[in-house]
Symmetry: C2
């Protein structure tokens, strides 16, 4: 189930469709209705922050809600409502920026994507490759960076002391940790393995 269907949500919907998951779309005004229907999407018109629409679209029976609308406050409202009324539902939400991400995590989103973070990481990865880093090593570095940054995001979302200076100091500390982590990774890669793309598997191996 996808709330919104702009440029962001369309990518999500198309990737799911290409893998055989036909999403239900909730939107005020989705363009290209005919094409969407032909691709097998079910469409519900209306405001996804209203409980009636979520009920009509059978949120109670859905597994997953993707909230990727292009409006900061609406995203917050939909996440909060869905979390309260459909506790079983997994919720992925689009975050406009870092502070929006904190707020979404606190309101109970299971996953959060900052809207330009993924593309920036992809670009960083491409840059590493153009500078001579091998492809899988660049991908691994990007995954390590992402994992680390997302752990930091989650930690800071629940930080008790929300004083700006404290948050910035902690953020710098985490950035330095990351640099050390990537350098350590680098040394361990003297006997390089192709499983390197799956960071979490590697971490389990180490432990």
């Amino acid at each position: 189930m996808i709330a919104g269907f702009g440029r962001f949500d369309q990518i999500v919907g198309r990737l799911l469709a290409a893998n055989g998951c036909k999403a239900t779309i909730l939107d005020h005004n989705p363009g290209q209705i005919e094409m969407l229907r032909r691709f097998g999407f079910k469409i519900f018109y209306g405001d996804a922050s209203r409980i009636e629409l979520l009920q009509a679209a059978r949120a109670a029976r859905a597994k997953l809600l993707v909230v990727a609308i292009d409006e900061r406050d609406t995203i917050l409202e939909v996440v909060e409502l869905a979390r309260k009324r459909f506790p079983h539902l997994k919720i992925l939400a689009r975050a406009i920026d870092r502070s929006h991400a904190y707020e979404l995590i606190r309101r109970g989103a299971d996953g959060v994507q900052r809207e330009t973070f993924g593309s920036a990481l992809e670009m960083g990865m491409e840059a590493l490759k153009l500078l001579g880093v091998r492809s899988y090593k660049a991908r691994r570095a990007a995954l390590t960076f992402k994992e680390h940054d997302e752990e930091a995001l989650r930690e800071m979302a629940f930080a008790e002391n929300r004083d700006e200076t404290v948050l910035i100091a902690r953020s710098r500390q985490l950035a330095q940790q990351l640099e050390q982590l990537l350098q350590t990774d680098d040394q361990e890669l003297t006997h390089e393995v192709d499983l390197a793309w799956d960071i979490s598997a590697l971490r389990q191996d180490r432990g």
Copy 2:
């Protein structure tokens, strides 16, 4: 060398720094100068769309220019200038949307990242995982999607017939091809290999 240092460019710069590449930053007004200098970045103040700044920052000796400024027209200007004056330079550029991406490709950018595309793909991948698709298979599906979409982008950037209707029709055709491609991939995955993360390697294997 990175032109701009907002939320997008910072991720690129930090990923490069964490991998031992200390970028030169060109910006009107980069915040947190002290921290940036401490992290080892060289900074040049000014307008990256002026040849004098690029020369002062020694673009002639740089390998790579990342243009990730938050302004559509400035990005186009910097790419065009850099392409003309420093033909050896690899250029990666941030695209605001699809039509901006076409224009950047035509002006000679070596690589283009649409600013929300990567994050949307990440979210689609997370969604697939939450729906029960195994982690590496979800990653592989996202990579196939990305590769296919980027090929389509490049093709359409150079399409002779730039009529909107023709472009949309072609775009739909490409979307259907993708769906077929992913379904084929799925069948081939009966004996699943962990090398699956590297789509280009797999394609070579097939050929």
